[in-house]
């Protein structure tokens, strides 16, 4: 079983492998990175065995390399995913998700009376990494980052 899994990963010639995704977050990440619109080969694996997570998901995208901004978008839903950058079948770089200082247009404010929930506008949150909190730039209300709802 392990061999098969490795074989699948190794099969990517150029592109990105997003690994260590909690199984239930795989399709959220597909949506966040807009991968459903992808025109290059895309492989999604779920319920794969993982020593760390027990069960994990993996996404392999051919010929796609993500910007740091795109990667930081994953921080809210899956802060522990790892990205392997593959060129000519070799892992040339490993990237981790870094939580940005500011989240723009990604998360919904949980305050129904916040202006962002009533106007066609972008949300902005300030991130407090130590406390695991995000604060709405507009109404000032805090919420826990891991409970935040995506837009």
């Amino acid at each position: 079983m392990n061999n098969k899994q490795e074989l699948q990963v190794a099969a990517l010639r150029n592109g990105t492998v997003i690994d260590h995704i909690p199984t239930d977050k795989v399709f959220t990440i597909v949506s966040l990175l807009n991968l459903q619109q992808s025109t290059t080969p895309l492989t999604i694996g779920i319920n794969l065995l993982s020593k760390k997570l027990g069960s994990k998901g993996i996404i392999k995208v051919s010929d796609r390399f993500f910007s740091d901004e795109e990667i930081s978008r994953l921080s809210v839903v899956a802060p522990n995913v790892k990205l392997n950058i593959i060129r000519d079948y070799e892992v040339v770089e490993k990237k981790q998700v870094v939580i940005p200082e500011i989240l723009k247009g990604l998360v919904k404010c949980h305050n129904p009376k916040c202006i962002t929930n009533n106007e066609p506008m972008q949300t902005i949150f300030h991130v407090d990494k130590e406390q695991g909190l995000i604060t709405c730039h507009y109404c000032g209300k805090n919420q826990e980052i891991d409970k935040a709802k995506l837009l």
């Binding site: 305050n111 009376k113 916040c114 202006i115 962002t116 009533n118 106007e119 066609p120 506008m121 709405c136 730039h137 507009y138 109404c139 000032g140 209300k141 805090n142």
Partner: protein
């Protein structure tokens, strides 16, 4: 985006606060100064607030400005589905400054980011009401001669009371000792107690208002205990009369002590207090005029030197 807007005073430095208070002091000496002659002030009240609106409009008129705007949200295009952005952009074509009251939190910050003219926040939902805080600070400064090292007692609805939260935050520069007097269900929220701890501000909590408790006060800041804030009406009936101030309760208070209230009051201050020289709430409202003249001038780039000239 316009950085001169007045959206919050939470981030104002001590120097900036003192500077605005000095400006207010100048306006108290002489409120009629034609510093805004030829300018147009728009007052957009998406939520009715007679007191605040009259105060801002009087400030604008005494500075020689013309005032346009609306006091009743029913007459605005918002009811036709117009966005706040569109209303702000439209009014920016006509006015040099927009004074705005809105029922949504964060509306003033957003307006200040999109408007080509400065925005003055006249209250956004339960978020901020910085001009009220300025007039509270001015009232404390004027009655005590300083903002430093005062015993400030806050009474009533400390959970939802926006004015007490803003005042608490603005006072952080001045080493106050706070006393919070409220029914348990309307106690000061933890985030503000945490704020006090982080800023080394001393505070004590009480659940009863009596004359011994307030004997040490320099400022007694009263707020309304509103029936609609209670989820348990039994609790409201139980506590509603416990946070009423009457003249007899002032017996042990210090001579310099003054009673503030953001108004309107309902029954939390008995009418027999009104004649006590320690009652300051009506003068406090008048101070709002000077504080708002200072705010309007400051956001339009008029300095203390310009005022004194």
């Amino acid at each position: 985006m316009d950085n001169s807007s007045f959206v919050t005073i939470a981030h104002h430095t001590k120097e900036k606060i003192m500077y605005l208070l000095q400006m207010a002091e100048e306006f108290e000496k002489c409120p009629n100064r034609k510093l805004l002659d030829g300018r147009i002030v728009a007052t957009l009240f998406f939520e009715p607030s007679t007191r605040t609106r009259l105060s801002f409009e009087t400030a604008a008129n005494r500075l020689g400005a013309k005032v346009i705007g609306f006091a009743d949200p029913k007459v605005t295009s918002g009811t036709k589905g117009e966005t706040l952005k569109d209303t702000i952009m439209m009014v920016s074509n006509y006015a040099d400054i927009i004074v705005m009251r809105h029922y949504l939190e964060g509306a003033a910050r957003y307006a200040s980011e999109i408007a080509p003219v400065p925005i003055v926040n006249a209250g956004d939902g339960s978020n901020q009401h910085p001009s009220q805080t300025m007039l509270d600070l001015y009232s404390i400064y004027k009655t005590q001669g300083t903002l430093e090292n005062l015993n400030i007692f806050m009474v009533g609805d400390l959970k939802y009371g926006r004015t007490v939260h803003s005042l608490l935050m603005a006072m952080r520069h001045f080493n106050p000792t706070f006393h919070f007097i409220a029914p348990e269900s309307l106690a000061m929220p933890n985030e503000y107690k945490k704020f006090c701890q982080q800023n080394n501000l001393e505070f004590t909590e009480h659940t009863e208002l009596d004359k011994e408790v307030i004997s040490n006060a320099d400022i007694l800041y009263m707020t309304r205990v509103q029936k609609e804030r209670f989820t348990d009406l039994m609790e409201y009936e139980r506590v509603k009369d416990s946070f009423l101030l009457n003249n007899a309760m002032l017996e042990l208070t210090k001579p310099n002590m003054r009673i503030l209230h953001p108004l309107p009051r309902v029954n939390e201050i008995a009418y027999d207090v009104d004649d006590n020289p320690k009652a300051y709430y009506f003068q406090q409202a008048k101070n709002g005029l000077y504080a708002r003249e200072a705010i309007l001038c400051d956001v339009l780039g008029i300095t203390l030197d310009d005022i004194k000239r």
